[in-house]
Amino acid sequence: MISYWPLIGVAVVIAGFAIRLNPVLVVVVAGLTSGLSAGIAPGDLLALLGKAFVDSRTLMLIAMPLPVVGVLERAGLREHATAWILGFARLTLARLLIAYLALRQLLSMFGLIHVAGHAQTVRPLLAPMSEATATRMLGPLDDETRDRVRALAAATDNVGVFFGEDVFVAFGAVLLIQRFYDAKGIHLSPTEIAWWALPTAIAAFVIHAARIAVFQLRLERRFARARRERTDG
């Protein structure tokens, strides 16, 4: 008989996020509730938490580019990225982001996942470039629009890396699938599995590129309307 008590932990997560407690606190409380309600002894639970924490150190590699990025920002990298991208007179926000999406997908198809990312490319380069291009197209951005443009840049990086992964080079996910099947007596080669990621990769590019184009179109309409209202008033 399977026990449903550990599901309390899931409820804690959902409730905690809903009432907007600090997510780290929510996660810790959820872990404790779930573990204790499953009957794990407190000493074992502490060791389990500690071991999982130590085992997941690679996640902190996201901080590795921060020193370079910090030094370059102090030297004016963001300002220079802005000036540089404005040199491309015909570039639009949508063209910039779609080009980045294509590049990110292609690179990660060949297993080059860590070459770009939120710390090393989005914050110092893609976000200021997107903002600058949008400002040239539309005029000064309000805080709300500026945040949405930056968020779209981050989302584009996510979509690119997620749906490019594992097409030509068998990496994490494909190997996990292969090992899973292997243990159950179904034997497949990694490339046999990896190829099936290609249709999704193409779909992701088309869908997200279309969303970027729509995002830009809506911004243009809104700013044009605001300009008309200003001149009429």
């Binding site: 026990s3 997510p23 810790v28 996201i62």
Partner: protein, 326 residues
């Protein structure tokens, strides 16, 4: 030989430095947070080795540290952004002097990572491999860490920045990200508790109790949506995949309805990824960047990407029903 643990030592030094600078500014909670991150970076291998040898208290102490992180994260106040204008003139001067050369260190990270990954089997230093090849999945991480360090040296020389300032600048960015930076590791700890407590199994059991097993499409739908929901709860498709696969994929879709395993596995995993786009539990992708880009709403990235995720779910289900039974 460069090993992954050396990259961890660099990160440990970075967080220890950030902790000391915060201590000096009497920002106790943040100083505590960065100290608790520096510990597993510097001593993690020793803790794991001790546990192997039967001494559990270091890991248990780390477990207490994780609980303390939850409390400290609630207490730590976000750092107000620095006054940008104060240094604007200095920045303009370096930009005027360096121009496009400023891009060199930024581009050095991807190019060097690529070169080191591809060159890893051939690069040698003093009779042994330059990069530890023992664990294939770690090669890219070691290459990335090395590339970041080399790029830092290039950046310091190019901009003539005193090395000590690198720590101050890193600390500025680390503090800007704040609690979001520790969320991914805390979530990984939660994931392993969920796993041990049988949360995934309980969900799979609930799901399979309501599923109409005779309908091929209903099974497929539950498999796909189950992957999305469980990934959103666990924050990671890798954790959700084996649960849904053993619960529904293997017994119902493959054994009973004759689905194609390769297509079912690959497309299923990618459907799970759509769940990753929807959830704050995937903090590295969704929460860290909104702090990193100084957005006012921590969920801003999820807000712009959920429509893409929903359409992708529909597209994946269509692809699954097209190819899984082909």
């Amino acid at each position: 030989m460069l090993k992954l643990v050396h990259v961890f030592y660099v990160l440990g030094a970075l967080f220890a430095g950030a902790a000391i600078l915060n201590l000096r500014d009497r920002r106790w909670a943040l100083a505590g947070v960065w100290t608790l991150i520096a510990v597993p970076m510097l001593l993690g291998d020793a803790m794991l080795a001790a546990a192997q040898a039967g001494t559990r208290w270091p890991l248990q102490a780390m477990g207490l540290g994780v609980i303390a992180l939850g409390v400290l994260a609630q207490l730590a106040r976000a750092r107000p952004p620095d006054d940008d204008r104060a240094r604007a003139a200095a920045r303009q001067a370096t930009v005027a002097r360096l121009g496009n050369r400023l891009f060199i260190p930024a581009l050095a990270i991807p190019l060097l990572t690529f070169a080191l990954v591809k060159g890893a089997p051939y690069l040698r230093l003093g009779g042994s491999a330059l990069i530890d090849l023992a664990v294939p999945t770690q090669i890219a991480l070691i290459a990335f860490g090395t590339a970041c360090l080399v790029a830092l040296i290039v950046a310091l020389r190019l901009t003539r920045t005193p090395p000590f300032h690198a720590l101050g600048e890193s600390r500025r960015l680390i503090d800007t990200i704040g609690w979001a930076l520790i969320l991914p590791m805390t979530l990984a700890a939660l994931g392993s508790v969920f796993d041990k407590a049988g949360v995934g199994a309980a969900i799979a059991d609930l799901v399979s109790a309501v599923i109409p097993t005779d309908s091929r499409f209903a099974c497929l739908l539950v498999y796909a949506l189950g992957l999305v929901v469980l990934t959103a709860i666990l924050g990671n498709a890798f954790a959700a995949f084996p649960i849904l696969m053993s619960g529904i994929g293997l017994p119902l879709l493959i054994a009973r309805h004759g689905a194609h395993p390769a297509a079912l596995g690959a497309l299923g995993m990618l459907t799970g990824y759509c769940g990753t786009l929807l959830t704050p539990m995937a903090a590295n992708f969704n929460i860290v960047p909104s702090r990193l880009l100084e957005l006012r709403d921590p969920y801003a990235v999820i807000r712009v990407q959920w429509p893409t995720a929903l359409v992708m779910i529909a597209a994946n289900i269509a692809l699954l029903s097209l190819f899984a039974f082909g």
